[in-house]
């Protein structure tokens, strides 16, 4: 046993010595055999011949000996690898081109897989996350709507499908700290919120049911981040009082690091973004008030209960609630959505499109490499024939060639991984701002394994065909033949088929890139209904404890906008409840003077608030009537401004200015009515929304709101007024945080970042694909031209013109490219439906794009075949004939 091991180890590590000994041993045998025959009277020639016959295949004997040594698998692999490296080294340009194309395409695949792994495959950071679901209301007008707090209490008390259920709603706070006040994003949560998520505070405990009673609620749970940065990780923080929104709160818990926000829709904080404080949600008011909806529902299903079962139970419950609270609780269905789909659902399609695109790039790279290897295999026919004649088994030859392709693909894989390391960082930077789980995207273990697997797979895929083909070499033919070994007809056909496949896949990707480009341009050139240049925005939120009355709040914003308007360089300044394209979705129902809604319907629209300067600062055009003025105050006639969509929906073909609406169920006096004083242009919710929602604005002076976005339009660079804005705010209230100071451009850029991302990625892949396909076409045409040098020479000798030869080669190229292009365009058309959801303002069968792609492919084909065509056209009859 020990001997066996020692023997094998020696054979493995002193391989060179062992091989030399074997060679010497066999030579000795052969020579002695020859001597024997010569002693018997044969001539040397004859003796050698006899010995050779008896001896058998020299290589075969060696091979069997190696096998007998018991190290053959490792040993032959090492030998094959060494041989392969020599071969690749002998032809550096060829090897470099192949390794680089593989590195690029494997790297791109690894990078996209990193995203898919982080976003789609990695488990959510909650125990048994598959049992977590989000709960929404839904109706025809509002497909995904938040819950009413008292409806939630009934859900929580009555349901039997959920192990636990909680609700939460956005509630940011201002932390008074030693230096500047800090704005922290926070949530009000019902008791047991963290238990639903399966999380526990690292210090203290989470809120109990008592905390939900109004008046008991001045408690707070802090994030690990705030605990460390603001409180120096004080171990005795539990029970300490801290000042939030100028009120004293008792710290009752600290969550551990890595506590991820599950994401929410209403005043959204994306999944995984930092949330710093949680406060108990106080159930204030009467449980019969069920008209307002602002709670986000989340529940943990009982083991064994399916989403469908839970949804059925919840909907039955909602029907019952509809009977108990007719009006507010009727007309709703309940949505139970797995948390995972809620977080990644919308992005899944885009990621799969990208994966498909990058996969095609890899296939093209495979086809390309196979093509180059095929070309080389025919040049190496002689070498292979010699090896076969020396007695090397065909399996060995296949193995040898496969080793070469695996070395290529693994080298490409390693380089690709390096590219991916850099690429992933660039990719994450380019990702849309609201992309879920972006911080989970890394080159991690699964990515490494994936890269290794695709490297091996591509190596085998592109190596197998050339290797099989080469092993069918007939040793006799290979040896006899002239130096110009010609590829078989079969091989030429295989190579052409590969190029056609490459061209068709590249065409598909080009169509995809074209569609994304049109989508992106459509969004960029869209008339947004406002003007984002030279506008600075910031968010303020006045603490309720300090601004108890509407008058105080209205006064603050009035003073602030007045002082901003006097700043040098400021054209106009205002404040509004929201900024365009930020996903604002607040709705109200109302009555219209002299009109009745259809049965089962009601008049409703988005509501906003604005100061007098908001519309001019945002440059939302006035279509009729007037904007708000300083005169629209408390006590004056109640007024609103509406958008064109609202005017058209409820007063088609009527003069809207002067019409009145009401929020009272039974309006009595004139004071119950609000008069429309102006109509402004439409602004869509998101750049790719199909149309603008009907909307109206209250004047901030008449109906104040604490949280407002400040909008300042300047004559030149708006960033310059950022400091003046802070100074103006702090002059009015030194304890107020100025949050999210941004240019409006940044806001609009963020809102089209998803289509921009898809466009950039698909274009990159398409560019890579068409370049690879071009190289592939060039390779095949250049090769056949070289093969036909003599033929061309003969043709010239027989009177063919340059033009004729040029045309001949170009036609050959067209025969490869045109079918590939047609197949590609047909494929693109049939796959259009996959893309449709990602497109805006362009059909998947856009004729202009299809035509442009056809044009681009033809130009690339022309470029790829021009050089070989020129070479053919300049064929010199003399050199051609001499080559024979």
């Amino acid at each position: 046993m020990l001997n066996d091991l020692r023997y094998r180890v020696r054979a493995l590590f002193l391989r060179k010595a062992v091989e030399d000994e074997l060679e010497e041993e066999l030579r000795f045998h052969f020579d002695t055999e020859v001597e024997k025959h010569m002693r018997a009277g044969m001539t040397q020639e004859e003796a050698k011949r006899r010995a050779r016959i008896v001896f058998g295949g020299h290589e075969q004997v060696k091979e069997d000996c190696r096998e007998a040594r018991g190290t053959s698998v490792i040993e032959t692999t090492i030998e094959d690898a060494k041989y392969a490296l020599r071969q690749l080294w002998a032809n550096p340009t060829f090897s470099l081109v192949m390794i680089l194309t593989l590195a690029l395409s494997i790297g791109a695949n690894s990078a996209i897989f990193s995203v898919i792994n982080g976003v789609l495959l990695k488990r959510l950071p909650y125990p048994q996350a598959e049992r977590l679901t989000r709960i929404f209301l839904s109706s025809a007008d509002f497909p995904k709507f938040p819950l009413n707090p008292f409806d939630f209490l009934d859900f929580r008390a009555r349901n039997r499908s959920f192990e636990s259920m909680a609700a939460f709603t956005r509630g940011d706070v201002q932390l008074s700290s030693a230096s500047e006040p800090v704005h922290l994003s926070g949530f009000y949560v019902t008791s047991g919120y963290f238990r639903v998520l399966g999380l526990q505070p690292q210090l203290g405990r989470e809120f109990d049911f008592n905390a939900e009673i109004p008046g008991n609620g001045l408690q707070v749970i802090l994030s690990d981040r705030v605990w460390r940065t603001q409180f120096g990780a004080d171990p005795n923080i539990i029970g300490r009082k801290i000042t939030l929104d100028t009120q004293p709160y008792i710290v009752t818990g600290v969550m551990p690091a890595g506590t991820e926000h599950p994401g929410n829709n209403y005043h959204a904080v994306a999944y995984g973004d930092s949330v710093d404080v949680w406060r108990p949600f106080p159930f204030e008011g009467s449980s019969n008030q069920r008209g307002s909806h602002f709670m986000e529902g989340i529940g943990r299903l009982k083991a064994g209960v399916s989403v469908g079962q839970a949804a059925a139970e919840m909907n039955a419950m909602m029907t019952q609630l509809g009977r108990e609270h007719p009006g507010n609780d009727t007309g709703w269905t309940l949505l139970v959505v797995p948390l995972y789909s809620e977080i990644v659902g919308a992005r899944q399609r885009m990621l799969f499109v990208l994966l498909g695109a990058v996969g095609m790039v890899l296939l093209i790279a495979c086809a390309n490499t196979a093509n180059l290897l095929l070309a080389r295999a025919s040049a190496r026919q002689r070498e292979i024939a010699v090896r076969l004649a020396m007695g090397a088994p065909r399996v060995r030859v296949v193995r040898q060639l496969l080793t070469e392709s695996l070395i290529l693909s693994l080298t490409g894989g390693v380089l690709g991984l390096l590219l991916a390391l850099g690429g992933v960082r660039a990719l994450v930077a380019l990702l849309p701002a609201d992309f879920p789980r972006a911080h989970d995207i890394h080159v991690s273990w699964p990515v490494l394994v994936f890269t290794l697997l695709i490297s091996l797979l591509t190596g085998i895929l592109f190596g197998l065909a050339p290797a099989m083909q080469a092993s069918h070499t007939d040793p006799k033919k290979g040896l006899q033949g002239s130096r110009t070994t010609t590829a078989s007809r079969h091989q030429n056909r295989l190579r052409s088929a590969l190029v056609i496949a490459e061209v068709s896949m590249a065409s598909v990707l080009l169509v995809g890139a074209g569609l994304m480009l049109r989508t992106f341009l459509n969004l960029v050139h869209l008339d947004p209904g406002f003007h984002e240049e030279n506008v600075l925005t910031a968010n303020l939120s006045l603490p309720h404890a300090q601004y108890k009355t509407d008058e105080q709040t209205a006064q603050f914003y009035d003073n602030l906008t007045n002082s901003l308007n006097t700043l040098p360089g400021v054209e106009s300044a205002g404040a509004g409840s929201d900024l365009p394209w930020t996903g604002y979705d607040e709705n109200a129902g109302f009555g219209i003077e002299g009109k009745k809604p259809a049965p089962n319907d009601y008049f409703h629209a988005r509501y906003h608030r604005a100061t007098a300067g908001y519309f001019s600062a945002m440059q939302i055009p006035l279509l009729e009537g007037r904007f708000f003025t300083e005169g629209d105050r408390k006590g004056a006639r109640a007024v609103i401004v509406v958008n064109r969509a609202l005017a058209q929906r409820y007063w088609p073909n009527e003069d809207v200015v002067g019409k009145r609406i009401t929020f009272e169920d039974e309006p009595k006096t004139d004071a119950d009515w609000l008069t429309i004083v102006g109509v402004v242009g439409n602004v869509k919710d998101q750049p790719n929304s199909t149309g603008a929602e009907p909307a109206f604005w209250w004047p901030e002076l008449q109906r104040a709101q604490l949280d407002m976005s400040v909008v300042i339009r300047t004559r030149s660079d708006a960033r310059q007024v950022a400091d003046s804005l802070r100074a103006a705010v702090h002059k009015l209230d030194p304890a107020l945080a100025v949050a999210d100071v941004k240019l409006m451009n940044q806001v609009t850029d963020a809102s089209i970042s998803a289509p921009r991302f898809t466009f950039v990625m698909v274009s990159l892949f398409a560019a890579l694909a068409i370049v690879l396909a071009g190289i592939g076409a060039y390779g095949v045409i250049a090769y056949t031209v070289a093969q036909r040098t003599q033929e061309f020479g003969l043709r010239v000798a027989l009177g063919a013109q340059h033009g004729d030869l040029l045309r001949m080669v170009l036609m050959q190229s067209a025969r490869l490219v045109v079918p590939g292009m047609i197949v590609g365009l047909a494929l693109a058309l049939s796959m259009g439906r996959v893309m449709q959801a990602l497109l805006y303002g362009v059909s998947a069968a856009d004729p202009l794009i299809l035509a442009s792609v056809a044009f681009v492919v033809l130009v690339v084909a022309l470029i790829a075949s021009y050089v070989p065509a020129r070479r053919a056209a300049n064929a010199d009859p003399m050199t051609a004939l001499r080559a024979e």
């Binding site: 001997n3 010497e24 041993e25 045998h29 075969q60 069997d64 000996c65 040594r69």
Partner: protein
């Protein structure tokens, strides 16, 4: 280099499966030999009936060496050339005894059947 079994023309027969190791070990019993001498000796002693294909001799030698039944060392041959000599090890001798006995039993049994039938 015929692959046909039982070459009747030359009166040679190919070795039955598994006997090659036995023959090599037995040939090495008197003392160290190199590969060529082993094959010559087998052929001579068997009155030219048995011949070892070189294609199987060397792999077999390497296999036996790996198992530790024979060991190799380089020496000088009768024609004054460097040659690789193989000799039996102690476990090789044991193996030879074992295989010889097995072979005897086998041939005896086969003989009895042939006679008795």
């Amino acid at each position: 280099m015929s692959k046909r079994k039982g070459n009747t023309l030359t009166g040679k027969i190919e070795l039955p499966q598994g006997t090659l190791d036995l023959l090599i070990l037995r040939t090495l019993l008197p003392g160290a030999q190199h590969g060529w001498a082993i094959s010559e000796r087998v052929q001579q002693v068997s009155s030219e009936v048995l011949s070892i294909q070189q294609g199987s001799l060397y792999p077999a030698l390497h296999r036996l060496e790996r198992r530790g039944w024979i060991k190799a060392k380089w020496g000088t041959s009768e024609n004054n050339r460097k040659a690789k000599f193989y000799e039996l090890t102690r476990s090789g001798k044991q193996q030879l005894e074992l295989e010889t006995e097995t072979w005897r039993k086998l041939t005896l049994a086969v003989e009895q059947i042939l006679e008795g039938a």
